[in-house]
Symmetry: C2
Subunit: 416 residues, 2 copies
């Protein structure tokens, strides 16, 4: 099918989904979970083909790990989908109700966002996450997955279509572009007649390509150079596991810690502890001169000129000693990608200043940066983590897949 | 100054404005009102030059009316600015507060949207509206006005800069592109490094140009093919002034009525009344065959094939008889630009169905469509009226110039 027909079908399906009953959509999402369970073997077999092809084409083990769907992961997906199905549906709720001086009753009513265009790589679980979030909120979606997961995605899309069919919703609500040609992405980005928003999930090159070529608003994000600043008044014993968690719990993702800033008053004592605590987990360090001078460990090497502007996505951690909160704020405002940044401190005033001054999608006090995630924030999975400013910032879950219409009720009211 | 430097300055000014005190921003907006009053004669003199040039180049009287700034209009602007200054500031407010099962305290905090890029034509009051809204909410703005109002705009921008200077905010918070070259618009649309959103205010050609060339999300809107459906159970006497108001109160704007749909059960009686009531105000009619057959008036002529897809912006009104609510819904869903559409009815069920089914930015029951306006909705003027779905729909006032950041407070909390 050509792309325009596919866009038109998604738009027509939106007219149905956006007016469908919330309970029906909930049942569709539950049915995705059921279908995943029924077709578990089929999914792992398709996935095995993708893994084999990936090995043959020499993809790295970490990339292969990202595209792998084994039984525990699918079981996890089934669980997540069922949790998502039962979250409150934001559609139809009313907010900002008021009565104007002329008697008009004004309110905003939450409605689905529209037709979503998602361009993603590797992780095939995104197919299910996005489809389930979209259906739950009455949206439709055009998916463009990577060629390295095509076998898995074809089955997963079939799973979603079967679930839609089970409850009588149009299967065209979730469209998948099978053709791996790159030119189709360019064409998709210009389907502004049918698609309301483009969400790329991938590296900065993909984001740039989308920004440059789209005639549709693009929500960029998912690139996190994340910071924690350990203030002089932090509980240093409690800080160690937070830093360890932020760096090592899943180093390959965007909300993992990249740079640790430490107040100079505690650097001498604390930095060595950090290195001793994290090095056994395989972490290596890139330290600027002041930090180098107070730590002694073979895992520590001098930071290069680009190191504080690098999203590591691995077990590397930048270390820097700062004079005070101001220098920490300056460093973060200069080097952050406005994804997730935090302070560890017992000083309420410093915590408040940090929250006020740091303008990242998620700002943390005394917590790991690893929480910036739709599931963790209680939004029911996520379509992406936005680091741009329009419409949504941070994890885009159920509420972020909605917009509103104004409802105005009068008594044959006219404007003076 | 080249455009990149101008963008950089606006971005740097945003770092200051976005962290500035709400009271200071309020005083800046009040100062705009004061400066407008002080420099009233200077403004009208500059505006006279624009009018003269417009006459020389043969602009229509209705366009000249749009760009005219006389004393009553400036007095109106001063009043509106003072009202805006004292509206509640949305910045810093917190919403969606909750405590997660792991003890994390999660909330969203309202912050300014960023650097706005506004491209507009004719009406110089937009300069003041946009600048005041932006400053009030801690945003900065790059303005690109039309060449036909350049003299007026230069003085108005100077007024805003003086006001910013008075309260110690950076004058670079409001930038104006003086150079009339069209190529600069193209360049502006690719300044994604500095500009967060582009809002075009003009015809569909300008919107298409922005969509095609921007590497920044574009909020399109301001084009309204607006409908009212008179149901069989409407209060017909009360309906007449609503229709009159929607069509004639200001026919040149986007929320004016374009098409009147009438239930066939009342068409015979009611359509003649509509024509008799509106024709004396200069309204002429384009009626489809069924409507033609029940009215008799020289102001009524047969509708052409494009007439129900035309935004009239003048005293023309399309007339159509429909079988029932369903046909009215079908017609609106096919021909509306999703701006403002309404039903006139005493039937609560039909009103509810209309609200449910019509997915326009503003949906009306028993009111004139002329209310879709930031000032009327109590948002404090408007930057534009959005008819796209991302971020904002309908009038974009104070709340629509904000975004949020997530604030996450823990007790050295780690992700399991």
């Amino acid at each position: 099918m050509d792309l325009r027909s596919l866009g038109l079908e998604a738009r027509q399906a939106f007219d149905i989904l956006s007016r469908s009953d919330s309970k029906v959509r909930e049942r569709a999402v539950l049915a995705i979970g059921d279908e995943l369970a029924i077709r578990l073997d089929e999914i792992t077999m398709a996935n095995a083909k993708d893994i084999e092809a990936a090995r043959e084409s020499g993809l790295s083990e970490s990339l292969i790990d990202r595209l792998t769907l084994d039984k525990p992961r699918i079981t996890g997906m089934i669980h997540d989908v069922k949790v998502l199905a039962e979250l409150p549906d934001p559609i139809g709720s009313t907010f900002d109700e008021r009565i104007l001086p002329n008697g008009l009753r004004l309110s905003r009513r939450r409605v689905p966002l529209g037709v979503l265009g998602i361009i993603y790589e590797s992780r095939p679980n995104v197919t299910i996450d996005v489809a389930a979030l979209a259906i739950k909120t009455g949206n439709t979606v055009i998916l463009r997955g990577g060629s390295e997961t095509i076998q898995s995605n074809l089955v997963l899309v079939d799973v979603v279509k079967a679930a839609l069919g089970r409850v009588g919703l149009p299967q065209s609500a979730v469209q998948f572009i099978e053709n791996p040609e790159r030119a189709l992405v360019g064409e998709m980005l210009r389907l502004n007649e049918f698609i309301d928003v483009i969400v790329p999930r991938g590296g900065s090159q993909l984001h740039d390509f989308c920004r440059k070529n789209a005639t549709i608003p693009v929500i960029t994000g998912g690139i996190g150079i994340c910071h924690l600043f350990v203030d002089r008044e932090a509980d240093l014993e409690a800080a160690l596991p937070v830093i360890h968690n932020a760096k090592t719990q899943r180093p390959s993702v965007c909300n993992a810690l990249d740079t640790l800033l430490v107040h100079e008053a505690i650097a001498q004592e604390f930095l060595q502890k950090v290195v001793d605590h994290l090095a056994p987990s395989g972490v290596t360090f890139r330290a600027e001169p002041k930090a180098i001078s107070v730590v002694h460990h073979p895992a520590v090497q001098p930071a290069g000129p680009e190191d504080f502007d690098t999203e590591w996505l691995s077990l590397i951690l930048g270390l820097k000693v700062v004079r005070d909160l101001d220098e920490a704020l300056d460093h973060i405002l200069t080097h952050s990608t406005n994804h997730s940044d935090g302070i560890l401190t017992e000083n309420q005033e410093n915590a408040a200043r940090f929250i006020e001054q740091i303008d990242s999608a998620a700002v943390y006090v005394n917590a790991s940066t690893r929480f910036t995630d739709g599931g963790q924030f209680g939004l029911g999975a996520e379509v992406a983590v936005s680091t741009q400013r329009l419409h949504a910032r941070g994890p885009m879950g159920l509420p972020e897949l909605t917009t509103y219409k104004w409802v105005v009720i009068g008594d044959y009211t006219v404007r003076e």
